[in-house]
């Protein structure tokens, strides 16, 4: 699904990613953990195609294609989903309208028919029921005035409706109380499947109590310095990142 080789990237002139290698196959859940400033969010943004993040070396192939040949919107239509650490507020843009447009952009790209208002609503109601959420958020402007938890729930609703193949979830657990964390985790678990891959980018281990990863990687100073199974996350939770030379106290 995703092959990252020797990926180097800068933000402005500053090198952030310094040779990342990672292979993610369908059906797998990977967790990328690391201290603040290790480059976790940069990795997500580079993969999603955000402007201002410059790839200086290495390659990334996604479903056999060179990812960097695709614009951000093409990547999204090809099934790559970035769950934002800080979902952006869109004043005046109705949540329902936005999500229907996005859904139809993806569907048309897949050669499926665009959904009219009624059919989209049907799809949406089904997904919302699966998630045990409600559609009140979608009746408002996207993310405007939402609490941190509501913004993350909205990301999960979008993910469920857009039905992507590769999900990169950037600090999706941050700012959630325990109930919201359970709800969001359940939403992520629903997306697991043999044709799906999930990359959880997180600082803390607690999300991993609810979404069990197959692999855990430690990102430190722009490189993956350790990889292992779920037990690695538990070790990090106890010992922190000090063993990897990080001096952070968070």
């Amino acid at each position: 699904m995703l092959e990252i080789q020797n990926l180097h990237a800068t933000v402005g002139d500053k090198p952030i990613l310094k040779g990342i290698n990672l292979s993610v196959k369908g059906g797998e859940v990977h967790a990328i953990m690391g201290p603040n400033g290790a480059g976790k969010s940069t990795l997500g943004n580079v993969l999603a195609g955000r402007e201002g993040y410059n790839v200086t070396d290495g390659s990334v192939s996604y479903q056999g294609k060179d990812l960097f040949e695709l614009e951000a919107d093409e990547r999204a239509r090809d099934g790559l989903f970035l769950g934002f650490q800080y979902p952006v507020e869109l004043p005046g843009v109705n949540g329902m309208t936005f999500l229907r447009m996005a859904t139809n952009a993806v569907r048309e790209h897949r050669g499926e028919e665009a959904l009219d208002g009624m059919d989209f609503l049907k799809l949406l109601k089904g997904k919302i029921a699966d998630l045990d959420m409600d559609d009140a958020l979608l009746k408002r402007s996207v993310n405007v005035g939402f609490s941190g938890g509501e913004k993350k729930r909205n990301e999960i609703i979008q993910m469920a409706v857009l039905d992507p193949h590769l999900m990169i979830l950037d600090e999706t657990d941050s700012g959630l109380d325990i109930d919201a964390l359970k709800l969001v985790s359940a939403g992520i678990n629903l997306m697991r499947g043999p044709e799906k891959a999930i990359v959880l980018v997180t600082h803390y281990q607690r999300l991993l109590d609810y979404v069990k990863p197959d692999f855990v990687h430690v990102l430190r100073d722009g490189q993956i310095v350790d990889s292992g199974g779920p037990e690695l996350a538990q070790k990090l939770e106890k010992e922190g990142y000090a063993a990897y030379g990080a001096d952070e106290a968070a």
């Binding site: 955000r50 919107d73 999204a76 989903f81 869109l90 005046g92 936005f98 996005a102 402007s141």
Partner: protein, 428 residues
Amino acid sequence: MNAETPLFAEQFEAARPALPDGNASWRQLAFDRFAALGLPSQQREAWRYTSLAALRGELTGQALDSAALAETVAAQKIDGALHLVFVAGQFVPELSSALEGIDGLSIGNLADSLDDTTVDQIVLAGGENPDEALVALNGALVSDGVVVEVAEGASITQPIQLIYLGNPTGLVNIRNIVRMQPGSRATLVETALDANAAVLNVVNQVTVAAEARLDHLRVMDDGAGANHIAQTRLTLAEKSHYEGFALLAGGAIARYEVQAVIEGEQAHCGLAGIGLGTGKDVRDVITHVDHAVPNCTSDQTFKNVMDDHASSVFQGKVTVRQDAQHTDAIQSNQNMLLARTATANAKPELVIFADDVKCAHGATVGELDADQLFYLQARGLNEQTARQLLIEGFIADVFEAIGDEALRNHLRGLASTWLHGDGWGDHA
């Protein structure tokens, strides 16, 4: 005497025979006043951004074949409204609704309603201020318009829609006189379109009596080369309510001017508008809300989106006279520039003589937000669609000023259509 007057005098004499009441002395009075004032130059602050160069061209035009325009008109008619269609400045009954039989509504085209009261109102409009010269010119050359009177206590549920189109090259002068009697209600919609290379000079005189309410919408969707200058003179009596909304979308120049005088207590004046421009379009909004008495409110919300070399202007003035205590006046002008070459001019002006008032104004100029764009693109929307969605989002709240849902959707649809047109939003 202004240097340009001889030209206009010639045109005036040539135009008179075809005008209703053409040889009447009141037209000469109006013309003389115009001649004394002269065309306002761009040295004047109120006319700094609107060039009247188009007026120096040929002022008389050819009437167009109204039958050919029937289809265009049909597309613009608001369902359920009372329609009055003006082609090249002349009322066309065949394209319009029947005007009789609505309880409490007296309505007719101006050319057929020129009684002494109406003539007085036409001639007396506009002061001795050079900024008002086009009101005087309109008085001299007015060809038609509407005279509306809504009877005391009457509530007219059907919107009254005036459609102006097919204006030929030249100058077209329309005058509308609206008298809202005490406790009455009505909605007036003006739709201007398809007026290439013309100067459309519209003057509205509106009086809203005690406890009456008028909702007044203007759609300025003229053809690419058109110059549309609209001036509304408004007086508000006690506990009356006026809600104005203007969409300045078409034409090379779209200028929307409102001068409101609040003369009765507990009255409200709401003005809102959206300017959309590309190419070298000018969207010029000039307002003056004069709070003459205590305990009144006014609210002004204008947003502009300018692309390419277009420029927007908002000169919004609020006067609070010494007696007008407990005035609550707010004013906001927000601008989005889609290209480095586009311009926004915001000039709020508060003149306050009373000491116990709430007056606020704010102006902002910004551009499309890169984070918002990326968020939409990261969900699969292409850049063009993402930009349009954000622009529509930016102006979305202004439409809330339109109380009637069907009309609100109609106006929203027109703005959306315009924003999806060719060449829009490509100049980043």
